[in-house]
Symmetry: D2
Subunit: 89 residues, 4 copies
């Protein structure tokens, strides 16, 4: 239930490091998998998969909000790529 004709939306956001950027977190996880004898592993990169719910008056406004969250805080556009899907719930 939302006020003023607002609706609820859910967004699923993927954030990944650009291919040219080294991923130390991935190297640490690779090292841990090596400790467990996963021998065929060549490369591993750690990204984020974020799910959020937000109120907005329509889908366009919801997308604009999510875009702004990605630009300002959830990702660093200089070194990370992001993509998202928004749907009404």
């Amino acid at each position: 239930m939302t006020s003023g004709g607002e609706k609820m939306f859910e967004a699923q956001i993927k954030v990944t490091l650009k291919k040219t950027v080294a991923d130390p977190q991935g190297l640490t996880v690779k090292h841990a998998l090596d400790s467990l004898n996963f021998s065929g592993l060549e490369d591993i990169r750690m990204g984020k998969f974020i799910t959020l719910q937000l109120k907005a008056k329509d889908e366009a406004e919801a997308k604009e909000q999510v875009e702004s969250m990605c630009q300002k805080l959830l990702a660093n556009p200089i070194i990370e790529d992001y993509s998202f899907e928004v749907k009404k719930i």
Copy 2:
């Protein structure tokens, strides 16, 4: 280039906390978004999006390896859900 007829595969893995599990990391990111005045945000949950490349003799073996990595290290099946896709590259 791989030895013994092995091929390269890429896996994309999503790991998310089960809905019944509290997500303090999500609360901290929500708090940061509040600081930036994103007022419509209701809920946010932080998951992982992992990309890896591995050698295996066929797709079945590659999937088995990824399943085992998820079970043992990338996820905690008691509190997290995971899903993945594997393709030959």
Copy 3:
């Protein structure tokens, strides 16, 4: 080299979940350590150790800046504790 009589400071910040808050990230790392047969482990909790450098006109201003970063973004004071040290460099 800083302008206007400003000096450089380094801060070391610890952020930990309050004891009453469940730590799913810690459970996942515990699960991974179990996979490696670390049998004596009873509990593990994941916190952050952040190092930053900033410009400020004196130590009091540097501390105020770091305090504000912790309050707004680096920690969520409702569920996390933080502490820090600041020194001139």
Copy 4:
């Protein structure tokens, strides 16, 4: 209460990226702090502060266990430094 004369120990572990390793996670947090207008920030690096409890027969064995956890899983010694303190609780 532990069996067989074992005692409980607590370890506090710091894991930080070596200075020569780029820290994309730090850059993303710096970007978020820039969004909040923290203008004096020069550099920020994200490390881990891990607290764990374990059973061992004496302090030497507890330290050995923690050292091994760091070497195999909690850190990647090639790109990260770690240090820890262990005490009886």
